[in-house]
């Protein structure tokens, strides 16, 4: 069976054979860049469509059903509309920051793609501090949001940006601790190592209850980090109209929109990697036959399946729950999630030291 890893290896081999080293690297970089941007665009379209359909079914309606078969081209039509719209810059806005902010957000989202393992051996850059890199870069997007809120010269935007700042800074903590609790088990920050350590079972099963708790906390924390409902205070449309992107229109708005969905994809991919084994098929201990059957399902399918399942869960949250208030949001983090995740980390350390996870 031809796997993605074989294809990439073949291309790599061919490039280095025909071109000098630096040119091959350059060509590869260009290919990766184009692939990443394409992935972004496709992800945006698919996820927005998915969100609209999920919300529609939960709200007992049909959702988009006009453009294309079953409405699948609706988001494409919307993107075209946004692309043709005038990108307004309000008077009194800090023009430079205002125009820069959406790109900061989208680039921050793009950077995190680097260490994600999409399939077996299919990874842009398997750097040795992969998961640390993800936590570090993912908090960069808040700078873009703050820039957008400040530069818009709009009080709603400013309030939204401030909320977003407070929110991301506090939820980074429990997200980080949840990540650490898996890193304790694997002993490596490298994504490929983390995936490989789940060869004989995913961490969510192997890690007993502490892994489950840290998984739940991680999902909650990343929902908050990506400003999704019920933690969408930064854009809370019933309070702040549209929060930090109130003044944005046209393509710049589309970039924020896209970044939101790409961020969801990324955090779900990370969660899938950490807890659900990434591209690793469902393996149970030493059941060789069962594991072998599972291996027939391509690894990329495993990865996408798990990621989309988590994305669906996060969408499910959004279409079920009311929004929290800003002080309740911070209470939830500092009074509930952080203490629980710290105790959980201790338990996890105990499990790791005693080696109970195998």
């Amino acid at each position: 069976m031809i796997s993605l890893a074989d294809i990439t290896a073949a291309i790599n081999h061919w490039l280095y054979a025909t071109l000098p080293g630096w040119a091959a690297l350059l060509v590869e970089a260009v290919i990766v860049g184009i692939a990443a941007i394409t992935l972004f665009a496709v992800l945006g379209l698919v996820l927005v469509f998915m969100e609209r359909k999920v919300s529609a079914y939960m709200q007992v309606r049909l959702g988009p059903n006009r453009v294309g078969p079953g409405g699948t081209l609706q988001t494409l039509a919307d993107t075209l509309k946004l692309a043709m719209k005038e990108g307004l810059t309000p008077d009194g806005a800090d023009k430079f920051l205002f125009n820069l902010a959406p790109y900061v957000v989208i680039i921050a989202a793009m950077l995190i793609l680097a260490p994600i393992a999409f399939a077996k051996g299919f990874q842009i850059w398997d750097l040795n501090i992969g998961i640390l890199y993800v936590s570090a870069v993912s908090s960069l997007s808040v700078i873009g949001i703050l820039m957008a809120g400040w530069a818009s010269n709009n009080k709603y935007s400013l309030l939204g940006a401030m909320r977003s700042g407070a929110q991301i800074v506090s939820y980074e903590l429990s997200a980080g601790i949840s990540v650490v609790s898996i890193v304790i088990l694997t002993g490596s920050l490298r994504i490929s190592d983390i995936v490989a350590s789940q060869q004989d079972g995913w961490w969510i099963f192997k890690g007993h209850i502490p892994a489950l708790i840290s998984f739940v906390i991680f999902i909650i924390a990343v929902t908050a980090e990506t400003n999704r409902a019920p933690f969408d205070l930064a854009e809370a449309e019933s309070e702040l109209t549209a929060g930090f992107h109130t003044e944005y229109s046209g393509m710049k708005f589309a970039l924020f929109f896209l970044a939101e969905y790409v961020n969801i994809f990324i955090v779900c991919a990370i969660a899938a990697t950490l807890y659900l084994g990434g591209w690793m098929p469902l393996h149970i201990g030493h059941w060789a036959a069962f594991n072998h059957v599972m291996d027939y399902i391509p690894s990329s399918l495993w990865f996408w399946g798990k990621t989309f399942f988590l994305i669906f869960v996060i969408m499910w949250f959004r279409w079920t729950f009311p929004r929290l208030r800003i002080d309740q949001l911070l209470n939830l983090e500092w009074k509930y999630l952080l203490p629980i995740s710290m105790v959980n980390l201790l338990l996890m350390a105990l499990i790791a030291v005693e080696g109970w996870y195998l």
Binding site: R61, D232, S238, P322, Q328
Partner: protein
């Protein structure tokens, strides 16, 4: 605008919430002074949809002016019309046939249900849950369909005429109402599952927007807003009109006075409305649906006041007649106007998100406030 507000202390920010804002449900304009996220002051600016209905009515005959009142509180348009019809009947001393009385009450309660359903969805949307809105509209549409079949319109029915109702009930009315009741009863539990017991929703509502009993009376808060603070103010109980006097239903009272109490009062009122409809739907007396009235109505010289209970509270119609075919002066006492006046008092010291929740539970309808 901001300069006129004048002094703001250091660190305070003045925000215009509305007239175009997702959670003001129309064109309410609030000027809020905040310090950080905490509200220091809320100042409503009204009049964006002021049509001076009172002035318009001065040039309309007693048959004509009723339809305009549908456009005030459009969610309980039928009850508004009812108040006006009652006032004219009081002046003309028209005896309304029993069948018409029952039809009116049935329609009132259906309207109240529809209004509360919309409120439930809209309020859940204000606190950030979008799905309940569609679920609420599903049930509301069922009521609207029933209304449409009998009254001929979905929202501004104009079904009341002085002396009765405009047309008899549709033959399928009772059957369809019963079908709806079965459907809605099963959905009420879903409402509780989805919103009432939800921990996020509860924490958003409990202890927010407290209004004491004294203040509720002083601010003239009626309807669910007043009753959540423990003020007994249900016009159907205090001054029963039509057949309300002989119906068995409870006035829902809560004493907490916060947003959650207001929420619970409305939810319980929906169940009371269902029980009222239950009592009446099989007992619609036969007979005329309209009393015989003259083609041109002339109210005797004098003053007439009628009070009815809309979905938002006490609605009063005050007609001063000089004996002509048009009122000399007409005044509508709208519940939303008084309820809104307590907003500043309730919102101070809370967060912006709470202001939205408080407005949601006040169930403001802006044309009702502006008139």
């Amino acid at each position: 605008m901001i300069e006129e507000i004048g002094t703001t202390e250091a660190g305070e920010l003045v925000i215009n919430m509305g007239p175009q804002h997702p959670s003001t449900h129309g064109v309410l304009h609030l000027i809020i002074t905040i310090s950080g996220e905490t509200i220091k002051k809320v100042e409503p600016h009204l009049g964006y949809i002021h049509r001076s209905i009172e002035k318009m009515c001065e040039s309309l005959s007693y048959r004509q002016f009723i339809y305009v009142t549908s456009r005030m509180d459009y969610l309980s348009s039928h009850i508004n019309n009812h108040g006006c019809a009652l006032c004219v009947e009081k002046g003309m001393q028209i005896e309304v046939p029993p069948r018409a009385q029952v039809i009116r009450v049935l329609m009132d309660e259906l309207t109240r249900l529809a209004s509360h359903q919309l409120w439930w969805g809209a309020m859940a949307m204000d606190v950030g849950a979008l799905t309940p809105f569609f679920h609420a509209f599903r049930e509301r549409e069922a009521i609207n369909d029933i209304m449409e079949e009998t009254c001929g319109a979905r929202l501004t029915m104009n079904y009341m005429v002085p002396g009765g109702v405009m047309a008899d009930l549709h033959p399928r009315f009772a059957e369809r109402v019963k079908e709806f009741m079965r459907f809605f009863r099963s959905k009420m539990d879903e409402y509780d599952e989805l919103v009432t017991n939800n921990v996020i929703f509860k924490s958003r509502m409990q202890g927010v927007g407290y209004l004491s009993r004294e203040n509720a009376i002083s601010y003239g808060c009626t309807g669910p807003t007043g009753r959540a603070s423990g003020v007994s103010c249900d016009m159907r109980k205090i001054a029963p009109y039509e057949v309300y006097g002989r119906l068995a239903f409870n006035e829902i009272l809560q004493t907490e006075g916060d947003c959650y109490a207001r929420y619970l009062v409305r939810m319980a009122e929906m169940r009371q409305s269902l029980s009222i409809i239950d009592q009446l739907i099989d007992n619609i007396p036969e007979g005329d649906f309209q009393a015989k009235t003259k083609a041109v109505l002339k109210l005797p010289k004098g003053e007439f006041y009628s009070r009815v209970e809309t979905a938002r509270g006490e609605f009063g119609v005050y007609i001063i007649s000089e004996g002509g075919t048009t009122p000399y002066r007409i005044k509508f006492r709208s519940p939303g106007f008084s309820n809104l006046s307590a907003l500043d008092h309730m919102a101070r010291g809370h967060k912006i998100g709470d202001l939205v929740a408080i407005m949601g539970t006040l169930d403001l309808v802006i044309p009702d406030i502006d008139r």
